[in-house]
Symmetry: C2
Subunit: 349 residues, 2 copies
DNA sequence: TTGTATGCGTTATCAC
DNA sequence: GTGATAACGCATACAA
């Protein structure tokens, strides 16, 4: 009598005069159903407005039709980082049109990272995971493999991994920034980096040091947790040095913004006395004064590519390692000619 | 032979020498099980390491053990808005310790808002929803009700609603900002607001106009979509007026930052020539120069309260309307005494 | 080419 | 009071 009662596969079978099993075969385009039975079944299903019950399907197939993203960073850091919302937007671009759903889990005060992965796997809440913020010798790779889940990593791990990966050569972005500064005559530069445990922070640091060396610049690196607060502290420390840098390459935009604030408070002009470049090319950057020179990566495209790769793995595709387009340097107002051009440098022209 | 095979309730029943049904009763603390049978069952379950299969549980109980958050705003706007990550962090604080999972859906190019809600409901992917960014005469209230889902709204809707709500009096925050500016001698102020269709944008606008009137100030309002770009445009328009305001109250921090950029580009000093206040008290704000005066709301606490309210509804609690702590104004460097103090105003002291 | 049985946990229904 | 049984909803291995 319930008006809400959805038709079940049994209703369709009865109406079409066949068994439940055959209905399932017909509706999933499996072989072994006569053309005649197939049309009878499809008609009956359409007439009743039948759609499969996802939960029953989930139980019998062992799939969740959901993928997960575990956010391991402190949530305070996430809130300040526009990378995640953009990544999520990209994931949704793909998941939303393929019947998948995105399950978001954060490591919270009440439950830590490994437990979060174990919980998702124990309950089979997801079929696969997006692994982000890869760390050196990341134990999550093995953990997720043992838990029997599929996954795609953002960037290639430094350990053996059975998973597909989608990468962006952020090192190339940093290199662009350093070369830009070299061309402007800077020869004493610094990098405000992310945590050394994170692979992409390491990669950026290495690219920075290589590019500085290749361009004959003296360089320095300060590590942070990616937060604006530590970006500010790092800047204060760098500018207090006797041979303070004339340009700083930051590993994200919010640290760059905080760094500009610190420099200006010390009476320095940006870019007159200090050039600053950011990373991620946040919307806000172009509205600041000075507008921020920044390395532009396409987090949304990254998310979309990762989602596609994960769906591919779930469908049984071979492991693939996808390299996305190189980031580009967007030059705005926060970088300019060095205040202390090296002898024979560009300052002469 | 599968080494992965989890014990099922049938294994427990066999080991305890009872039926599946009785095992279920025993493990869910239902009456009708003798103390003797209960201990036998519990021992057997512990010995086998049995845990219920969530998918089977989901099928038989009709619950998903998941809650959803649909993000209706353009994803580009979300990426720039630290409100959502903080909200999500708050939701996770509660969900993660109560066996719930957060399903995130975004209105994407391929699928729009109403379809997203219908899709979640059709597949019963979630038991309840968090409704945010409430609009005037919001059709989602009725829609979600018809779809048979529970929900909690962030803020009280302007239509009849069967759902609990969790609210913050953002009007009070705006009032604080206006009174602060009045005390500084400003008498020509403006508000850069969010979309008029959004209830909280309306509420803030109304609070702004009331407070300006109560303090004898002339006021103006410009509407935007909350993006930094439109915040910049609005500021340019306001400052081009013959009687340009001496202070602008922005409805979020990123518009305030963009506004400061525009003002400085026009040769105005902030706060010397123009005072600026933001909303949300973003981490970044305190590192800017000038550091941003902003209305602080606790998005994370808001999320946690909403999650608790939703779990309450799912458990059958009565509809509740929760009012959170009033926002506070954090006064920093971007607001100061008016450059044109009104006659008899504070400028004399 | 088609029908049947089984897997999952919960719960309504029935038997003692 | 105490317990067993069957049905739910779908996919699929297997039998016919």
């Amino acid at each position: 009598m319930s008006p809400e009662a959805r038709p079940t596969i049994a209703d369709v079978a009865r109406k079409a005069g066949v068994s439940k099993g055959l209905v399932s075969f017909a509706l999933n385009d499996k072989p072994g159903v006569s053309a005649q039975a197939r049309t009878r079944i499809l008609d009956a299903a359409a007439e009743l407005g039948w759609t499969p019950n996802l939960r029953a399907r989930s139980l019998s197939t062992g799939r969740s039709f959901a993928c997960g993203l575990v956010i391991g960073r402190s949530t305070d850091v996430i809130a300040a980082d526009p990378f995640f919302p953009s990544l999520i937007a990209g994931l949704e671009d793909v998941f939303s049109v393929s019947g998948q759903v995105l399950v978001l889990s954060a490591a919270t005060p009440g439950r830590h990272e490994v437990e979060t992965y174990r919980g998702l796997a124990a309950d089979r809440r997801v079929d696969g995971l997006i692994l982000t913020d890869l760390r050196a010798a990341d134990e999550r790779i093995a953990l997720v493999g043992e838990l029997g889940l599929h996954a795609v990593t953002l960037g290639r791990p430094d350990v053996d991994s059975p998973f597909s990966s989608v990468s962006v050569d952020d090192g190339a972005g940093i290199r662009c920034a350093v070369e830009h500064l070299a061309a402007l005559g800077h020869d004493r530069i610094a990098h405000v980096a992310g945590p050394d445990a994170m692979l992409h922070a390491r990669r950026r640091t290495a690219a920075f040091e290589d590019a500085a060396r290749a361009n004959g610049m003296s360089s320095r690196v300060v590590r942070t947790d990616f937060s604006a607060a530590q970006g500010a502290t790092a800047t204060r420390d760098l500018l207090a040095l006797a041979d303070a840098p004339t340009a700083i390459v930051y590993s994200n935009d919010q640290m760059a913004v905080a760094g500009i604030g610190v420099a200006e408070r010390l009476g320095l002009r940006v870019p007159g006395d200090l050039s600053v470049s950011g990373f991620d090319d946040t919307e806000l950057g172009r509205h600041l004064r000075p507008a921020l020179t920044s390395v532009a990566t396409d987090a949304r495209a990254w998310g979309a590519a990762a989602a596609r790769a994960l769906l591919g793995m779930l469908a049984g595709d071979a492991v693939a390692h996808i390299e996305l387009a190189e980031p580009t340097l967007v030059i705005r107002e926060s970088t300019s000619v060095s205040p202390h051009p090296p002898t024979g440098g560009l300052g002469r022209h």
